[in-house]
């Protein structure tokens, strides 16, 4: 029985070894090899700094969302008084077929969730950074200051949009996640948190950074000026905006042509989201939504960088904004800088014999005051004025998706803040001076007297399609009236249906036929607050207050 012995020799030791190995608990212990743990991020200085970087990435992700043809980020522009929501997904919100009840406001969730996510992670970073041992004080305060800026900016945004918001400074944990939210946070507490956070950021951030794209003291002061305007604290708004203007670190670009040029990191930019084509960040379809389709079926015309590339004209300039921009014939902003209203023949290869390169395309049928609905519709699709702020000057003009850095805040708005604060404080001279800085660099004639209307109009010209207009109208109490009077296309105050002459329209420049102006009829005074989307209400407490009117 020699064999038997041999077999026993290898069977039994092997068995006992295996039992020992497997009963040892370390066999089941996990060690992630290609990912970091949250522990590392929140308990080391390097980790906390990486956490702050991710906050920028979260903010940028809002613009990278490709849902609804990439239009979610500009839905706020479709809801103001300056745009024609001609088609595409965005027109459902622009024409207020959506976004009027909690049930039909799914896209608003992307606003709700983006900013709450930033708030929660900022909470976690702030709490961890305040408690971490052995972190260099300078690094610690930089981390906390940036996180507090993000928190303040996000709370402020949510408050302006949704009004009834619940805010906590405690990060979400497995222990507290099942706590049910029963009520909103009082407005005073919200403003207190925003102002505290911004004050901390201002006190601890430098004016300049060698890492272009980081927020700075100037960014924080600009937002604090905005908050002060909302609180009608004119002195604070003046203080903060003038601090930015006079800091010496910023200057308006010499021409509107330069504001959105290149990397959009000029001296005018207070904060821009950063992309690097093909390497980091996704391309977006903002330009595709905003630019008309001026080369479709028009021989002699092709998509070009100069004219803003290719789009589908889903959200374009309305006649109200165009008239504001054309009020001064020298105003450069609509002359193919921010916006474009004259498209030129530019394709020698397909140019018809009777046309000349470089002259304005005037289509025989497709005209603003064309005789048929179809012909007018084609004019809106192809030849109406478009916004080219989001077209990159190194882009491929025939493509739908484009990479470009996106400015969040810029100095032109700071000047308008200062103008408003000065006006409210009775400093008309300073207000005029502030406002004229913005006008003059666009070659528009300086104004000599100023009212609130001057500021509201200048803000439309300068900042349309930058997600700023809706907030300003709401803040100044004008949102309902302006949307009712101007949303979509048509003459001011015409509430009649599309293409109808019932309201006195007669298809002339002074009395244009209404087009995509449904929002004028749909808006109600309570809609100055967005409804909290139903999906979010379902996850809040049973008596959590929806905004009034919904």
């Amino acid at each position: 029985m020699k064999l038997k012995k041999i077999n026993f020799k290898w069977v039994l030791p092997l068995f006992s070894i295996l039992v020992v190995i497997t009963s040892c608990d370390s066999f089941l212990e996990e060690e992630p090899t290609s990912q970091f743990t949250a522990d590392l991020i929140f308990n080391t200085p390097d980790g906390l700094e990486a956490g702050v970087v991710a906050l920028y990435s979260f903010q940028r992700a809002f613009w990278e969302n490709s849902a609804n043809n990439g239009s979610n980020a500009i839905v706020i522009d479709s809801r103001d008084d300056l745009t024609i929501p001609r088609g595409g997904e965005i027109s459902n919100y622009g024409r207020m077929r959506n976004g009027t009840t909690p049930e039909n406001s799914g896209v608003f969730s992307s606003y709700w969730r983006t900013y709450y996510r930033i708030i929660d992670r900022a909470n976690a970073i702030i709490q961890a950074a305040e408690n971490i041992q052995g972190m260099n004080e300078e690094r610690r305060s930089q981390v906390i200051a940036e996180a507090k800026f993000f928190r303040a900016n996000s709370v402020f945004t949510l408050f302006k949009l949704f009004n009834n918001i619940y805010i906590t400074t405690e990060p979400t944990t497995p222990e507290n996640v099942s706590d049910i939210i029963l009520d909103k946070t009082p407005e005073a507490d919200i403003y207190a948190l925003i102002n505290d956070d911004l004050s901390f950021a201002i006190a601890n951030l430098e004016w300049t950074t060698n890492q272009t794209g980081r927020i700075t003291q100037g960014t924080a002061r600009h937002v604090k000026a905005d908050v002060a305007l909302w609180q009608e604290n004119w002195a604070e708004a003046k203080l903060q905006s003038e601090a930015v203007i006079s800091s010496g670190n910023y200057a308006l670009a010499a021409s509107p042509r330069l504001v959105f040029a290149g990397e959009v990191n000029s001296s005018e930019i207070l904060w821009a989201l950063q992309f690097k084509a093909q390497i980091n960040g996704s391309a977006n379809r903002i330009n595709f939504n905003l630019m008309p389709n001026y080369a479709e079926l028009i021989p002699g015309s092709k998509y070009s960088i100069e004219q803003g590339g290719r789009g589908f004209g889903w959200l374009t300039l309305n006649n109200y904004l165009r008239d504001l921009l054309n009020a001064d014939p020298d105003d450069e902003r609509i002359k193919s800088t921010y916006y474009i209203q004259d498209y030129l023949y530019n394709d020698a290869a397909t140019l018809p014999a009777n046309q000349t390169l470089g002259t304005k395309i005037v289509h025989p049928n497709w005209r603003e005051f064309g005789t048929t609905n179809q012909n007018r519709n084609f004019w809106f699709i192809r030849l109406n004025a478009g916004c080219k702020k989001y077209f990159p000057d190194n882009g491929i003009p025939t493509e739908n998706n484009q990479f470009k850095n996106i400015p969040m805040y810029r100095l032109a708005e700071t000047y308008l803040f200062a103008a408003e604060a000065n006006l409210m404080l009775g400093n008309d001279v300073a207000a005029i001076e502030n406002l004229n800085r913005v006008r003059v660099r666009s070659k528009a004639a300086p104004i000599t007297s100023i009212t609130m209307q001057s500021i509201i109009d200048e803000q439309a010209r300068e900042l349309a399609f930058e997600g700023r207009r809706w907030y300003m109208l709401k803040r100044t109490g004008n949102l309902y009236n302006y949307v009712r009077d101007h949303a979509g296309y048509g003459w001011a105050g015409d509430l009649s249906p599309e293409n109808s002459t019932a309201g006195g329209a007669n298809n002339t420049p002074s009395r244009p036929l209404p087009y995509r102006s449904d929002a004028r009829n749909s808006i109600r005074p309570h809609m100055i607050n967005w409804p909290i989307p139903l999906a979010e209400m379902n996850l809040l407490g049973p008596n959590y207050p929806q905004n009034d009117g919904y």
């Binding site: 077999n7 039992v19 970087v53 009840t101 992670r121 794209g213 690097k276 493509e399």
Partner: protein
């Protein structure tokens, strides 16, 4: 499962379809080399897959399709907790045991099986013809026209058919059948050569297979070569070893993605006047982004190469006659090399200037099992069998992938990646470990009563630090009733066996590192340079997760009557899955979209019937019928979300409702078409005056718009009027008829699915022509027009999709299908002797020959835009020397 192997595919799951009660197969991908989903006794798990454990010759394998179908000798399905217990920690979704052919003592046999299959498209709907499409377009454009003096005029055709290419094609009558332009016939060739034989000490089976399939869509295909050796070597009376080796190498070619080709406007064609492919179907500067599918097919490549090595080594040793030891070891390695390239002129390749993705994935698995068995011979009336198993299992996977953009030329495709400009590389590593102990005692009394007790203790690495271990007991009893004296005189009763079992198994449907709270990468750009950013992503980590437990009660009766001419099984089961690992929606205010808890619970119960009847059974002539019926009822007991009072709540964000099945769709219900503007405006969808905001804008309420059902009859359509509809079939069944006459055998296999619902994009989505905008072609439908007051489909509108069109998408997807009709001829003995063969068989198989269903698609299990399912005809020859 004798009929199981009659289908020409590498998709082994499809071979099981309809062959076992309680096993639901759903088409996953009809692409060459594609797979189907296997679901045993319904969905227990919500977040994890519900795929069963596949055990090949006693060892787990990852993918059932890695087996060469010709090597399979039998397939068995284990469904109840007691029989699953031995396969343990990964067995809670059921076990499919696949056994390959083994060598037998005796003469060496050489066998060849070759077949050729031709595949063709099958569909049960008609697209609009040229005239119908023209009519649809005219109506759709007309809808956008103003009503003047009560008349809404048609537009001239040069307005109806716009675009640089459409109008000329319309004038010339150039109507393109996109299906013909894009698709081709599929072709499969498969050859297997096997050699087997053995003597008292050594038995061997070896086979080699070559499989080659060309898919319906150009450039799609699948090739595989596989090799298997099964060796059994006796060392002496006490010891023996077995080795199974499977080596295969496969190459799959995939077509480019997003090919919604059949609904492209038929007045645009793939070629220009010179016969060259065009890229933009609607013209170069068109706003419509219709890309020529043939263009993108030509400008892309996507190859997946897979190498698989699977080695089992088994050692058996008998200490005494009744005490034995077995060592099972498994080493398996699967290496996948994937390359994708889209050229600089592919529609998605222009911006990045060509894009390549290459990745390498290595998947490894190790298993060691120590098995001790003690089965003393007590006496004839008392039998005892005791088993102890200790095992460890480890699965690792690592993947490196690189995406590169910015190519100077397209010549080398993805192999030219080194010359690209920009690179993003990712690396992922995962590891699963399981440690298990199992004890089982089996006791048989008088060959009539059988008791089986098992207990197993499993530890899994994916669970939280202090929650890694679970204990799962099971008990089974069986009673051979026909051996009782009271049935002694019942001649017609051949078998009557009652089986009952109760027990639990664990499931660990978690990804590695989930409980640790790992963070995701969110890099960013500062000053033009990339900076690392890391934070928790959308899922809030839960550090307390542990096993989910499925507890099953199973009662079965096996019967055989009239000389076993009628035989079968009746089975009832009820499975409760508690501590269900569930991802639950979190309010946006938390900053997270979801977290995972053990808070869910599901229940599955059902009835399974199997019956085979030999209607005619004599020497020359045999006819038998087999029916298999499965009914499963699936229910979520708890979604994991609770309200303020701690009571179970629905998880609306995830479409999970307590008391409803897991697989549901929540939607409004279609209730016809409004016939007048007044009816639409006054309906519950319209304005009611006062402060109530109407469900939809007044401008979308007109004659020809979609009417929704006011479910709660409160006069208002709102969120409460949504209805939850179960999608999984209420029952499914198969019926097989087997007819044998001398050497001929005729098999017909019907598959029946009843009560299934499905969302059909061809009826509701823009890209599939479902919105009736007429921008794209679509299924022919009876749509509303002022002259045709239809009540089934809304008024076409060139300007956009009708409001609420998605309510039309949900349709019945029940069907009856003749899955297999095969005729084979076995050459008779005298002829074989002349040919010096052992056996020879010729066969013809028709697959999916016809389908009766209301679901309009390529197949009731095919999604629109998926690789289309096919009908096929196979000719094969099988000879054994």
């Amino acid at each position: 499962m004798d009929n199981a192997l009659a289908i020409p595919t590498t998709n082994v799951a499809e071979m099981i379809r309809g062959q076992a009660a309680g096993v639901q197969i759903t088409l996953g991908s009809a692409r060459p080399g594609g797979a189907s989903d296997i679901l045993i006794r319904g969905r227990n798990s919500i977040r994890g897959g519900n795929a069963p454990l596949i055990v090949l010759d006693g060892f787990p394998i990852e993918d059932i399709n890695d087996i060469n179908p010709d090597d399979i000798s039998s397939i068995e399905v284990l469904k109840d907790a007691s029989s699953q217990a031995i396969y343990g920690a990964r067995a809670s979704n059921g076990v499919i045991l696949v056994t390959t052919k083994k060598g037998k003592e005796g003469k060496v046999r050489v066998s060849l099986n070759s077949f050729t299959t031709v595949q063709q498209l099958t569909r049960n709907f008609e697209l609009n013809s040229a005239d119908e499409f023209i009519a649809l377009r005219r109506e759709a454009v007309r809808t956008t026209n103003p009503v003047v003096n009560g008349i809404q005029a048609y537009s001239p055709d040069e307005v109806n058919f716009n675009g640089a290419t459409e109008f000329p094609a319309f004038l010339a009558g150039n109507f393109v059948d996109w299906e013909d332009e894009v698709l081709r016939s599929g072709l499969i060739n498969s050859h297997t050569l096997s050699v087997s034989g053995g003597n008292e000490n050594t038995k061997i089976f070896t086979s080699v297979n070559y499989f080659d399939q060309k898919g319906l869509i150009p450039t799609s295909g699948f090739k595989r070569g596989s090799f298997r050796v099964n060796l059994n070597q006796k060392i002496n009376d006490r010891a023996s070893i077995e080795a199974n080796l499977n080596v295969s190498t496969a190459a799959q070619e995939r077509e480019t993605n997003n090919l919604d080709f059949i609904t492209i406007s038929p007045f645009t064609g793939p070629f220009d006047v010179e016969g060259n492919l065009v890229r933009d179907l609607a013209g170069a500067n068109a706003s419509s982004s219709s890309i020529n599918p043939l263009w993108n097919i030509r400008e892309s490549e996507n190859d997946i190469k897979t190498d698989l090595y699977n080695l089992n080594l088994v050692a058996n040793y008998k200490f005494t006659k009744s005490f034995s030891y077995k060592l099972n070891t498994l080493v398996s390695r699967k290496f996948t090399d994937e390359g994708q390239y889209i050229s600089r002129i592919h529609s998605q390749g222009v911006t990045p200037s060509g894009r390549a993705n290459v990745s390498n994935t290595l998947r490894e698995e190790y298993l060691i099992e120590n098995i001790f068995n003690y089965s003393p011979e007590i006496n004839d009336n008392n039998k005892l069998d005791v088993l102890f198993v200790q095992s460890i299992n480890q699965r690792n996977s690592s993947r490196t992938s690189t995406e590169a953009t910015g190519f100077g030329n397209d010549i080398l495709g993805y192999d030219g990646i080194s010359s690209a400009l920009d690179f993003i590389t990712q690396r992922n590593e995962e590891q699963y470990r399981i440690s298990s102990f199992l004890g089982r005692v089996q006791y048989t009394l008088m060959d009539k009563y059988l008791v089986n007790l098992t207990g197993r203790r499993d530890g899994a690495s994916v669970f939280a630090e202090n929650n890694k271990w679970g204990f799962f007991p099971a008990v089974a009893v069986a009673w051979q009733l026909h051996k009782e004296t009271m049935f002694n005189n019942v001649e017609s009763l051949n078998e009557l066996k009652l089986r009952m079992s109760y027990g639990s198994v664990g499931n660990q449907s978690l990804d590695p590192f989930t409980t640790l709270g790992v963070v995701d990468n969110f890099p960013y750009i500062f000053g033009g340079a990339i900076v690392a950013g890391n934070l928790p992503g959308g899922v809030l980590p839960n550090p307390n997760l542990t096993w989910e437990t499925s507890t099953t009660t199973n009662i079965a009766l096996d019967y055989g009557l009239f000389n076993n001419r009628l035989r079968g099984t009746v089975e009832y089961y009820n499975t409760n899955t508690t501590d269900l690992l569930t991802d639950i929606s979190l309010g946006g205010n938390s900053g997270f979209s979801s977290t995972i808890t053990n808070g869910g619970e599901t229940r599955n119960s059902g009835v399974e019937l199997l019956m085979t009847g030999d209607i005619i059974r004599n020497n020359a002539f045999k006819w038998s019928l087999t029916g298999i019926f499965t009914r499963n009822r699936n229910e979520i007991v708890r979604t994991g979300i609770v309200d303020v009072d701690g009571l179970p709540n629905d998880d609306l964000g995830r479409n999970r409702f307590a008391g409803q099945p897991i697989n549901v769709r929540r939607s409004f219900i279609f209730d016809g078409i409004f016939q007048t503007d007044e009816e639409a405006l006054a309906s519950p969808q319209g304005t009611l005056g006062g402060t109530v905001t109407p469900f939809q804008n007044a401008t979308t309420l007109f004659a020809g718009a979609i009417k929704l059902k006011d479910i709660n009859n409160d006069g208002v359509i709102n969120d409460d009027d949504n209805v939850v509809t179960a999608l999984d079939p209420k029952w499914f069944a198969s019926l097989a008829s087997n007819f044998q006459y001398k050497g001929f055998e005729l098999l017909a296999d019907f598959y029946i699915v009843e009560g299934a619902m499905r969302y059909n994009p061809y009826l509701a989505d823009f890209n599939q022509g479902g919105t009736l905008t007429s921008v794209r072609n679509g299924i022919k439908r009876d749509y509303w027009t002022p002259e045709n007051p239809s009540n089934t489909a809304p008024r076409p509108d060139f300007g956009g999709a009708p409001a609420n069109i998605s309510a039309l998408g949900l349709t019945d997807a029940s069907y009856i299908r003749l899955r297999t009709l095969s005729l084979s001829y076995n050459v008779s003995r005298p002829v074989l002797e002349k040919l010096k063969m052992n056996a020879a068989r010729l066969y013809v198989i028709g697959s999916n020959l016809f389908t009766i269903t209301d679901y309009k698609s390529y197949s009731p299990e095919n999604n629109a835009g998926d690789f289309p399912d096919t009908r096929s005809l196979t000719l094969g020859l099988n000879i054994t020397l």
